[in-house]
Amino acid sequence: MYQIIRQILRTGIKTETPPQPDDTLRSQIQEINAQILHHVGRALAIRHVDAGSCNGCELEIHCLNNAYYNIDGLGIHFVASPRHADMLLVTGPVSRHMEIALKRTYDATPDPKLVVAIGDCGGDGGIFSPSNALGDKCESYASCGKVANVIPVDVAVPGCPPTPVAILQGILTAVSNLKAR
């Protein structure tokens, strides 16, 4: 126990430092906090669905839980069931084999619900979508392409993978959309 306490004290608080004029990340985090309280009036519960990604986006979603981003401290937490969720965080492209599971997860999420598509693949099918004769991304025998092809999407966050800060921004944008609805 002594060793654990010593290591905790030695590590200190890693969660990004208090607001400074040039600390863009911190000001975003504070804004997220205020937005969540303002629009949802409580904590935000997120259900993550991997609908066919390469697992790169999952790596960055995991990082949101680390001490630097500390999303729990912002009142955002990941939940185990869509029935407990306010928001779905979906990575893609949506494989044909995940199409039904994703639709069912969406249906199981109570209204009003938000959907944030993560990554280049979630946003437009990315590298896994072939291009048609016009050069546009199209679906394939195995992939439905972007998440919006399968369920309604509020916000799409580009990046391969998007950084944790970009994902946080996407969550904020979706939450502030809620008011406009």
Binding site: Q3, I4, Q7, I8, T11, K14, H48, V49, D50, A51, G52, S53, C54, N55, G56, C57, E58, L59, E60, I61, H62, C63, N65, N66, A67, Y68, F78, A80, S81, P82, P93, S95, R96, H97, M98, E99, I100, A101, T105, I127, F128, P130, N132, C138, E139, S140, Y141, A142, S143, C160, P161, T163
Partner: protein
Amino acid sequence: MKLEEFTIKFPRLPGAMPAWHGTVSAEELCALCEEAQRGGGKLLALWGSDETEQNAGYALHVALVTAPGLLVLTLPVSCDKPVFPDLSQIFPAADRMQRGVADMLGLHPGGGGNHRKWLRHAAWPGNIHPLRKSFDGTTRFPTEDDNYPFVPVTGNGVHEIPVGPVHAGTIEPGHFRFSIVGERVLRLEQRLGYTHKGIEKRFEGMVLEQGARLAGRVSGDTTVGYAWAYAQAVESVTHTTPPPRALWLRALFLELERVLNHLGDLGYLGNDAALAFGFTQFWILKEDLLRMNGELFGHRYLMDRIVPGGVACNPDDAGLLRIAGMLCHIEQNVATLKGIYDDHAGVQDRFLTTGRVAPDLAAQLGLTGMAGRASGQAWDVREQFPCVPYDRLDVQMATHRNGDVAARVIVRFEEITESIRLIRLMLEKLPQGEVRCAVGEAAEGRLGIGWVEGWRGEILVALHTGKDNRIHRLHPHDPSWQNWPVLEHAIIGNIVPDFPLINKSFNLSYSGVDL
């Protein structure tokens, strides 16, 4: 592993890795597989290809690890009778690979082998084989019923827990069916293939240079491993030798990727054993390393940093110094945290004897990579078949014989220590000069092999070239093919709540095998 002498009569493929390739008959294929197996060798990968455009029917390709190196055997398969010998009798790990070939190409293992579908669910009918050249990859079929024949387990008090494809945590999708009595697991059956997005079909027709980006996204957590293996394969068919500095930087990236993944896993393993402190600590170190990668190399996970012909970034001396500083930071903290994990009775109680795979079972089933080394399977390409720069670094393989979660934790700790030692040597000896050279054109009908010890285990990229410097067929092979079936054995007799811990201790890729 002690490998017996093995004489190869086929020509050697050009390139960085020791690989030979020959065309064989069905009898020769079986005989060579048996000989390799008897001599302590193993099956690395099995894939098929459509050669009908060259009027050569189909082909089955088998990659075996033998004492001199990799032996790739090609068996022509006729269109009239698309059957090949069932190799799962010799190598049990061949089972799912063969079923994948049957789904994707319509080539079937003969005899009484397992004929259930594997990669195909409900998105296309059973008489359609997407990797046939006559199939247009953008064709879409209405969703059918999956009707997968799970193996039923019956008996007094036996019941089933179906889990997934959408899991409770932030992980990839897959279906696990537990047959249990009380809370003890009698049997686990996995159903994967949910993230099948047509990667192999996407590769076909791509220009060699284009394929690098896709190869780096077969399994995002092993992007460096795949990108290097792909680059090796392209460099083999184009007779390219990248500048020395590029090769050393590739190895530096590979070891950074190993450390990153091991840090993340050690954090989650602590967390799954109810020590949230472990998650917090290890993920601070992981984030520190990710931020350094982002600032020095332009990508937190080093995606697209390895390209055919070299690498896409070149750190200066200040950057190298920064890496050295980061290594000290990680080394000190990991040493402290290892002491805490070792002394923590609650954590050790969960880790020890949980999810055990004994060495003889591991050998029989072909358990490979990091998980294999924790069950006495002493395979490591970096040590046994070292390419530049590993031939200059004398890699020390980490092995353990207990085969439980605790052993997989210890191997991870030891591999972090070894990777830090290797990176320090690389920083010290890193050659000066260019980091990228021009890549020539590849002739049609060539085979190129890339073979890299990724953090999870051996990555193979087999590249068959087509016309105009394009890919005719590309098979990326993840070590998870071998290790997923062993996880079904590791859980037997354990309690259901230990499954997340056991699963995490293997940490296998879904995307890498679903393709």
